[in-house]
């Protein structure tokens, strides 16, 4: 399968302008994949930025799970519905099909069991949206090749021994995982180093080089 086989999502000029207003582009992309008025669970919701975006711009019933006490308390104090919990454990407590979308934004690399988490997301939600930093990005590859050290960047600022990110993957690795859990890719977008989508339809291998981040919309079934 190549990106040509699926609906490639692209930002319109209007959306790109919104992005210039200071909102994280990957969150805008995710919000754009969510149908208005849906029930959404954001796993690893941080301080609730995406939840607020979904509630205010898409009219969603948006809930969050967040590991950090600070994130939960900040979000709940802003009136958002957030549960303090651990994606690696607590997704099991949700009933099948409880949500239209389950979102994992920039978090899958920090889970202990990425495959299990992805399976749970597709059980709890009819669709899953996953965004993650692409470790196949050319600059990271170059960094390792030239410097011989674990890459770090603005998006990946941690040192190897003190990082929450224990399961990095590349876009191609993730596409393999999607196949392993029998999910279908409905849309995919790669963001380049400037935070804008890689616009052209190219093979995964090229996305894997040019994309600093990727956002995937998945559904159940092959």
């Amino acid at each position: 399968m190549s990106p040509r086989d699926i609906a490639i999502h692209d930002l319109t000029m209007k959306e790109a302008a919104r992005a210039a207003s200071g909102k994280r582009v990957d969150l805008l992309l995710i919000a754009d994949m969510v149908a208005p008025g849906s029930r959404v669970l954001d796993v690893g919701s941080g301080d609730g930025e995406l939840l607020e975006l979904l509630a205010t711009t898409r009219g969603c019933d948006a809930r969050g799970i967040e590991l950090s006490r600070e994130g939960v308390n900040a979000g709940v104090a802003r009136g958002l519905a957030i549960i303090q919990g651990d994606a690696d454990l607590d997704l099991a407590d949700y009933p099948d099909g409880a949500f239209d979308y389950v979102i994992l934004s920039q978090t899958i690399q920090a889970t202990r069991r990425p495959k299990w988490v992805l399976e749970q997301m597709l059980r709890v939600g009819r669709r899953a949206i996953v965004s993650f930093p692409n470790f196949g990005f050319w600059r990271l590859r170059l960094d390792l090749l030239v410097n011989g050290r674990m890459p770090s960047s603005d998006n990946l600022p941690y040192s190897w021994h003190d990082t929450p990110n224990i399961h990095f993957c590349t876009i191609r690795d993730f596409v393999d995982l999607v196949g392993e859990v029998d999910a279908r890719i409905e849309r995919a977008t790669a963001l380049n180093a400037s935070g804008y989508p890689v616009r052209v339809n190219l093979p995964w291998a090229v996305w894997n080089l040019l994309g600093e981040q990727a956002v995937f919309l998945l559904s159940r079934g092959p």
């Binding site: 019933d61 809930r63 006490r69 939960v72 308390n73 709940v76 104090a77 802003r78 009136g79 958002l80 519905a81 957030i82 549960i83 303090q84 919990g85 407590d93 949700y94 009933p95 409880a98």
Partner: protein
Amino acid sequence: MAEGDTTTLERPFFEAARGEADHPHSAVVRFGADAPLPLDAGGMLSPFQIAYQTYGALNAARSNAILLCHALSGDQHAANVHPVTGKPGWWETLVGPGKPIDTDRFFVIASNVLGGCLGTTGPSSTNPATGQPYGLDLPVVTIRDMVRAQSMLLDHLGIARLLAVVGGSMGGMQVLQWAASYPERVFAAMPIATAARHSAQNIAFHEVGRQAVMADPDWRAGRYLVEGTSPRRGLAVARMAAHITYMSDGSLHRKFGRRLQDRDGHTFSFDADFQVESYLRHQGEAFVDRFDANSYLYVTRAMDYFDLAADYGGVLAHAFKGSRTRFCLVSFTSDWLFTTADSRAVVHALNAAGAQVSFAEIDSDKGHDAFLLEEPEFSAITRGFIDAAARAVGVA
């Protein structure tokens, strides 16, 4: 005091507090024969009365009412000076003008629980059939009975739906019961430091307290008010034991450590050498001056019997099936009486029921009592949750 002495009632519950039982310094609604209260124990309680306080004003749409549910030793005096002790209300950290539960914006109601001793019908109230205090003639009451009585109070006040029901500990049990029994009357529910069922350990602590009361010869099989005695020592011991469970090892250590009370060394006696002993004795004494021993038996029993899932086929999620109430649960890290795990069990059930739920664990070393104390994070969360509910309902 020599063993076997009858306690003389110098600062008796009999007078100041006893007076509150029938004629409280509060608003009172009396329900006559036309409005009996059905009890879980069977039969009806009639007549009965509810004593309550209100703060703030009900808006024209009747949409800004918040009900506060008090804990075991609390009462309706949540945000005013207590008529018996002269101390500030028990939730003035959270309730008042400009505070998270803002009495400038919301109509806040706090009622004394059924079985209590500050003006709602309880064992120290006068039994109209005999003209004497009920004592143990009052049927045992449950959390659900308390909530049923509160719903009658709301009917009386003309409030169809509450903006929020908020309470900690036993108050949190009432909040959960409210959400289960009257989902359409509760827009938002905030159960704090509580559980959907009382644990074996907590029942055990309560039993120790009750046995201390009943072992006091002045308890007189519950007839102390009629016989003019007071089981002060028993109730004080019960309170001392309970008070330990409301704190944490850390907070006791921080407050008292092994420091001595007004002395330079150990006295090699059983006097209160340690500050912590002196503190507990004081807590016990102060409690006896404001609380009725039989009420302590009734209200602890109500908590013991609480097991919300049991009323719904053993599945807690069924208690909240189809609920449109929004929930915010809060627990405190050092609370070992009502643990984070207890709150999580409720959160899991609410998730399974598809209810809208927030949950936050607050970092505090103050133990179970943290919900009554100054905790900035807890205040911020309460304010955020209540404000969001008010926005959703359109309360200014």
